[in-house]
């Protein structure tokens, strides 16, 4: 691992652009560590096999190569290039599965029916596994055999990460997050300073590190560094509801670049920070911020990292708001604006919380124009799964973003709203690139701006 000192020199952050990431490198280092090729591939195979379970094996055995998943994937639909066919993205891993782990593995090795996977092959596939897959899961809905292709891509990333084959920028931010606690430089100290600055500026109380609290809130570094208003909005809503809540400097970063890069160990570390902090605060609820993969990482995989059921509930902010709206505790002024809602994939399609945001929007009394398609089969914004951090993927991402722009235009709504800061950042980058007149808004901020009645 590179010495901490020169990490900032080697991978300087670029936080002044619409899209926060590491600066565009002159020469790309898409390969980590100086390890001989055989060792690198050995690591990949060992870790690929280690995490393999019965379900993934079943998926590897069931594909009939019908090609339906291609038509569901925005990368194929936007480019028409067959290499972006979702099931093709895991071809080397299916090859490895048959050789190393399947029921006929012995004979596949003996008769060499499937060639051994090579580093060059994985290197070539890096672009397919990372740049052109936001792990949005749309292909999984289109597959007639119901193979959850998205889960296989995440699994494939485990092998890639262990082989040290993560794209330059994604690796840099992931490594920074593991070491500093935040991928984009929002270290605990920076976080603490910002909270104090925001509390003064907006004359609002933002508790930090209360020894005991019912609710622990968290933030994504994109919000901390680019959309601080979301922090203020969270505070406003929590205080309005009169809840006993706090941020925790030992567990505030909701993003999980271990998950996005495929480094399983880091993913566990990042999740455990939030879990330990919440347990330390004795809270009964952990509220995840407006972030997509954070929800998947903690809501659905956090307990498995912890090894047993979590002693507290986990909610995405949109679920939290919807619950309080339904409970009548959260009254909102009717804003009447015409809006269209962009469903973050990890919350709606992958997370199952599609309805929450719509309940909140109904309470806000907005004129909702649904995009077509939307909800569980929405088109992905193209920036998720770490793709937005990779400069090499930009041309591809802009092509895919056009699908989204068309959808928003066709919805005839004034403004798009979403509940994921990474989508929001992707929209901002797209807006800047295409000089588009539509600006993405945050659901949380809309709620915070339209709170009804005095805060309790």
């Amino acid at each position: 691992m590179t010495a901490t000192g020169n990490i900032d020199v080697k991978h300087p952050l670029e936080l002044d652009k619409p899209r926060l990431s590491v600066k565009k490198p002159e020469t790309r280092h898409d390969r980590q560590g100086e390890v001989p090729e055989s060792e690198r591939i050995g690591q990949a195979m060992r870790h690929f096999v280690r995490d393999f379970g019965r379900t993934a094996a079943l998926y590897m055995e069931s594909c009939v190569h019908c090609g339906n998943c291609a038509d569901a994937c925005h990368f194929y639909v936007a480019t028409g290039n067959p290499k972006y066919t979702p099931i093709w993205k895991i071809e080397p891993f299916k090859q490895a599965y048959k050789r190393e782990y399947g029921p006929f593995a012995f004979f596949y090795r003996l008769l060499n029916l499937k060639a051994k996977v090579t580093v060059d092959q994985l290197q070539e596939w890096q672009e397919l596994i990372y740049d052109s897959c936001t792990v949005c899961g749309r292909c999984s809905l289109a597959c007639p055999a119901a193979i959850d292709i998205a889960s296989l891509v995440s699994l494939a990333r485990h092998g890639m990460a262990e082989a040290g084959l993560v794209p330059h920028e994604l690796w840099a931010v992931a490594e920074r997050a593991e070491r500093e606690g935040s991928p984009l430089g929002a270290t605990p100290k920076v976080f603490k300073d910002r909270l104090e600055w925001l509390a003064d500026d907006y004359d609002i109380e933002i508790p930090l590190d209360k020894p005991q609290a019912d609710v622990v809130c968290t933030m994504s570094s994109i919000e901390i560094m680019k959309y601080p208003q979301s922090i203020v909005a969270t505070a406003k809503v929590m205080n309005h509801l009169g809840l006993d809540w706090t941020f925790r400097s030992d567990g505030y970063e909701a993003t999980n670049f271990g998950l996005l890069s495929g480094k399983a160990k880091w993913q566990r570390d990042m999740s455990m920070r939030l879990i330990d902090a919440t347990i330390a605060a004795g809270a009964k609820l952990l509220v995840l911020p407006e972030c997509g993969h954070a929800y998947g990482a903690l809501r659905w995989q956090g307990a498995n990292a912890y090894g047993k059921p979590l002693p507290f509930r986990v909610q995405h902010i949109s679920e939290f708001l919807a619950e309080h709206v339904a409970g009548g505790r959260l009254k909102l002024k009717r804003s009447g604006k015409s809006v269209t809602y962009h469903d973050p994939c990890q919350i709606a399609r992958r997370g199952g919380a599609t309805q929450a945001a719509r309940d909140v929007l109904k309470a806000l009394g907005v004129e909702l124009h649904e995009m077509d398609p939307s909800g569980d089969t929405n088109w992905c914004c193209g920036g998720g799964g770490g793709v937005v951090t990779i400069h090499r993927a930009d041309p591809l991402r802009y092509k895919v973003f056009q699908l989204k722009m068309q959808q928003v235009e066709q919805s005839l709504a004034d403004a798009p709203v979403t509940s994921c800061s990474n989508c929001r950042q992707t929209f901002d980058d797209g807006q800047a690139h295409f000089h588009w007149d539509k600006t993405m808004h945050s659901l949380l901020e809309m709620v915070a701006d339209n709170l009804e009645g005095a805060s309790k």
Partner: protein
């Protein structure tokens, strides 16, 4: 009676008029599906043809074929043949017996060496080098070899002679073998069937006598004129097969209405013979018409094809036990493969 004059003279001596003979040829031409004009040509050629000497060798046979050929109360077209040929040896039909019969046979074979027609009825017992079946101390195998040497052509009458028939059915204790298996250097016409249709035997002999050559044979050596098509193709119940109307049992509604007997084991589709067109007992009927499925008797090893009442498509694949064993083996190897994979996984996990 001059045994070896022309066929015409023989007929005249027996008081058979030319008109009767022309009528016989017309009927035969129609049965052999030859063009009508061929009848006149046949009559002339046959009349002038030398009256062949015919030797009928009975080996392991049940005399069913002889019965089929000769049984008739009045002189019918079928058995006219006997007036045309000089049957020099037939164990059952001969008045003579013992040495006299054997002497007649040897004399005929010597006199007409190379010109007589050898008719074999029954399969040849090769077990215990022929000891299972002998005539006058001479084993079938030797007798066939000896007789075949001087034969112009050999006609194997019946499935036993043609393919081994019942004696050859497993376990084939006597080592029964078809004629064609033992006689390789002479043309053998297989007139299979158990028994074959009389007119088929007559047709083959007349064809040989008239044209002096073998009729066109299929790959099993059977004349195509009679064995060119399957019973199924010419069966009058075929429309019921095509409509999917099948009899389920021998006396159900379907059977009473003459529906197809496929489900009751009929082997019509895989049996080549002329029963459906020429029919039996002078055109009265044939097995299917009388309500029973075809047994496939003109096909080799028809006894060992899995049973007359077992429907054609059913395989005989040895029952469930072998499959149960295969299933157990599959589960075992599957479990082993999975265990191996889990062990590798555990080892890797321990490494970290």
């Amino acid at each position: 009676m001059d045994l070896h004059g022309t066929v015409g003279e023989a007929l005249k001596q027996q008081g058979i008029s030319r008109r009767a003979f022309l009528k016989f040829c017309t009927a035969l031409a129609s049965m052999m599906a030859l063009p009508p004009q061929a009848a006149a040509a046949m009559a002339q050629a046959l009349a002038k043809a030398r009256r062949p000497s015919v030797i009928w060798l009975p080996f392991q046979e049940c005399t069913g074929c002889t019965e089929s050929l000769t049984r008739s109360n009045s002189p019918t077209v079928e058995n006219m043949i006997f007036n045309m040929i000089s049957l020099d040896y037939h164990e059952t039909l001969f008045a003579a017996a013992g040495d006299a019969a054997e002497a007649a046979r040897e004399k005929a074979m010597k006199d007409n060496f190379g010109k007589y027609l050898l008719l074999v009825d029954g399969s040849v017992a090769t077990g215990l080098d022929g000891a299972y079946s002998c005539i006058g101390g001479v084993s079938n195998v030797q007798m066939l070899e000896e007789a075949a040497k001087g034969a112009a052509a050999i006609v194997a009458i019946g499935t036993c002679a043609a393919f081994g028939g019942l004696p050859k059915a497993s376990p084939n204790p006597t080592g029964a073998a078809p004629v064609a298996a033992l006689v390789r250097d002479k043309p053998v016409i297989n007139v299979s069937g158990c028994p074959p249709i009389p007119v088929v035997i007559t047709g083959v002999l007349v064809h040989y006598l008239t044209f002096g050559s073998l009729p066109e044979l299929d790959e099993l050596g059977r004349p195509k004129a009679f064995y060119g098509e399957t019973i199924h193709d010419r069966c009058y119940r075929r429309p019921f097969y095509d409509q999917g109307k099948f009899a389920k049992t021998f006396d159900d509604h379907g059977a009473r209405n003459g529906w197809c007997l496929y489900e009751l084991g009929c082997k019509g589709p895989v049996t080549y013979n002329a029963c459906a067109t020429l029919k039996w007992n002078g055109g009265t009927s044939f097995p299917i018409e009388s309500g029973h499925g075809c047994l496939g008797c003109s096909e080799p090893d028809f006894w060992d094809k899995g049973g007359f009442y077992k429907a054609l498509p059913t395989g005989n694949w040895g029952g469930g036990k072998t499959l149960a064993a295969a299933a157990a083996a599959g589960v075992a190897i599957g479990a082993a493969a999975a265990a191996l994979a889990r062990k590798r996984q555990a080892d890797i996990a321990k490494e970290k």
